[in-house]
Every structure is written in structure tokens, then in C-alpha cells.
């Protein structure tokens, strides 16, 4: 494996914050994505509730006409 030229190893205390930063960025991106998907799921649920309400109204109307 070839490594960056002229790149001495950083001490652990200094390198640790960069490594933690990289992994935290990855986790934050994942969490943001999950939050966006949760919002989408909420919208789908709301739309489904609307459609269910419309279907129930139509059914009630039909039963009223039949009666």
C-alpha cells in the first residue's frame, strides 16, 4: 500500500478527533436520511387516512341511497 508522501502519523489525541469527525459525519448523514424518510412515511400515512375517509364517505352515501 502506498501512502501519502510526507504525511507523518498524527498523535492519537489529535488523530482521534478527525477519525471521530469522519464517522460522526457518516452517522449524521444516515440519521438525516432516516428523518427525511420518516417525514415521507408520515405524508403517505396522512394521504392514506384521507383516501380511507373518502372511501368510507362514499360507502356511507351508497348505503344512504340504498336505504
Amino acid at each position: 500500500m502506498l501512502l501519502p508522501l510526507g504525511a507523518p502519523a498524527l498523535p492519537l489525541d489529535e488523530a482521534g478527533k478527525y477519525v471521530a469527525g469522519a464517522y460522526i459525519v457518516f452517522m449524521v448523514l444516515l440519521v438525516v436520511y432516516v428523518a427525511i424518510m420518516a417525514a415521507k412515511l408520515q405524508r403517505i400515512e396522512r394521504e392514506l387516512r384521507d383516501v380511507a375517509a373518502i372511501a368510507e364517505d362514499r360507502k356511507a352515501e351508497r348505503e344512504e341511497v340504498r336505504a
Binding site: 478527525y18 469522519a22 403517505i44
Partner: protein, 240 residues
């Protein structure tokens, strides 16, 4: 049924990510030159590989769309590119952090690997406004597929061009004249690559399932002659 198999896939992804992170921090040896900072490699490189492969897969789905004219493939292509762009953001940020720690700069413009990835990322970033600019859904899907095929073909060409470049500033991850990675590092790297690949697959499936659910609701609305909701996406393809 896009949600079929999503649960075991999600469990496998979480398990594989946990195993990979354990290997990265408790098993893989410290790199002799870079020390602890090299741990970023196990995240950055698999993300880059999966993002680039994802772009190519998006192109393959686009070919299937152009051949069959089935809108399902356009949705697959869109989602593959969408998730790969998100991974691309992670690649650029983790790469910048690694560059800062290794080279003392957040970005190095004379490094072909970095600049070529940025070019690929920016190319795919134009995919969204490109779709958004076309109102007709059929034309939008067709033109987006042509874009995905062209850009997907550019990715391996770009990769080969970079590999042929002579700069040795960027770390080479696989075997070179001086030999490859030690076994423990290679095993850890392969595990993280599989974990990130599984994550990409899970997110693609997750996104497709959400789009399918949304498409089913729209179908139901049409069947009931119900008014369409005010907020509908103009660029995201529908999945039925």
C-alpha cells in the same frame, strides 16, 4: 412488493455494520505510516467504491428502461443515483477530513483521484435539475435514462484515467509494486465494503418501498376519483 425481504436485509446491514466497526477499531492494526488516522480509510474508500458502482448500476437500470420502456426501471435508476449521490456527499466530507489530517489541507486540487470524484459527483448533482427542467413525465424519464447511461459510462472511464495517472500522492488501496495490504487490514476493509454495499442496497429498497406505497395511494385516489394532494413531486418517478 418492494418491501419484501426488507426486514432481514435491514437486520443483516445493521449486524454487518456493527461487525465492521468492531473490526475497524478493535482488530485492524494501526498503520505504520499514518497511525490512527488511517481508520478513516475503512469508511471513506468503501463509500467511494459503492457510490461509483451505484452510479454504474443506475446506468444499467436506465438501459433496461430505454430497452423496455417500463417506468419501473426509470424509478430504479433514479433511486440508485439518488442514494449514490448521498454516499458521494459522505465520500467528499470524509475525504476532506482525511486530507486535512494527512496533508494539512481540506482539499488538494492537483490530486486526480479527488478532483475526478468531485467531477463525477457534480455531474450527478445536475441529474436533479435536469429532471426537474422537463415537465412531461415520459420525456423526463427517457432523457434522464440517456443521462444516466452516458454518465454511468463516464464513471469507469474516469476511474481508469485516474489509475493511469502517475501521481502517488493519494493512497493506493490495493496491491502495488511494494505489495498489498496486510491480511487483517484487507479482511476489515472487505467487511466494511460488504457492510456499505448492504447499506446501499437497503436504502435503495427502502426508498423504492416508500415510492411504491406513495404510488399505491395515488392509484387508490384515482380509483376513487378523489382530488390529488397539493404536494406531489415533479421529479421523483412514480412506482406502482
Amino acid at each position: 412488493m418492494y418491501g419484501k425481504g426488507l426486514k432481514p436485509l435491514s437486520i443483516a446491514t445493521v449486524a454487518m455494520l456493527a461487525v465492521s466497526l468492531s473490526l475497524v477499531f478493535f482488530y485492524a492494526p494501526l498503520d505504520g505510516d499514518q497511525g490512527f488516522i488511517q481508520k478513516i480509510f475503512y469508511l471513506h474508500v468503501p463509500l467511494a467504491i459503492v457510490a461509483l458502482v451505484g452510479f454504474v448500476i443506475g446506468g444499467v437500470f436506465a438501459i433496461a428502461h430505454l430497452r423496455t420502456n417500463n417506468r419501473k426501471w426509470d424509478a430504479y435508476s433514479y433511486v440508485a443515483i439518488h442514494i449514490s449521490v448521498i454516499f458521494g456527499v459522505a465520500v467528499l466530507i470524509t475525504g476532506s477530513i482525511w486530507a486535512k489530517a494527512s496533508w494539512g489541507h481540506w482539499w488538494v486540487w492537483d490530486e486526480p483521484t479527488l478532483v475526478s470524484f468531485l467531477i463525477v459527483f457534480l455531474l450527478y448533482a445536475t441529474y436533479y435539475p435536469f429532471r426537474y427542467a422537463i415537465e412531461d413525465r415520459d420525456r423526463q424519464a427517457r432523457y434522464a435514462s440517456v443521462f444516466a447511461v452516458t454518465a454511468g459510462a463516464f464513471v469507469p472511464l474516469n476511474f481508469m484515467a485516474v489509475r493511469m495517472a502517475q501521481s502517488l500522492v493519494h493512497p493506493r488501496t490495493f496491491a502495488t509494486a511494494e505489495g498489498g495490504m496486510p491480511g487483517e487490514m484487507m479482511l476489515t476493509f472487505l467487511c466494511t465494503l460488504v457492510a456499505v454495499g448492504l447499506l446501499w442496497t437497503t436504502l435503495v429498497k427502502f426508498e423504492l418501498t416508500a415510492k411504491s406505497a406513495s404510488g399505491q395511494v395515488k392509484r387508490l385516489r384515482r380509483a376513487l376519483d378523489a382530488p390529488a394532494p397539493s404536494s406531489t413531486s415533479r421529479i421523483a418517478p412514480e412506482v406502482s
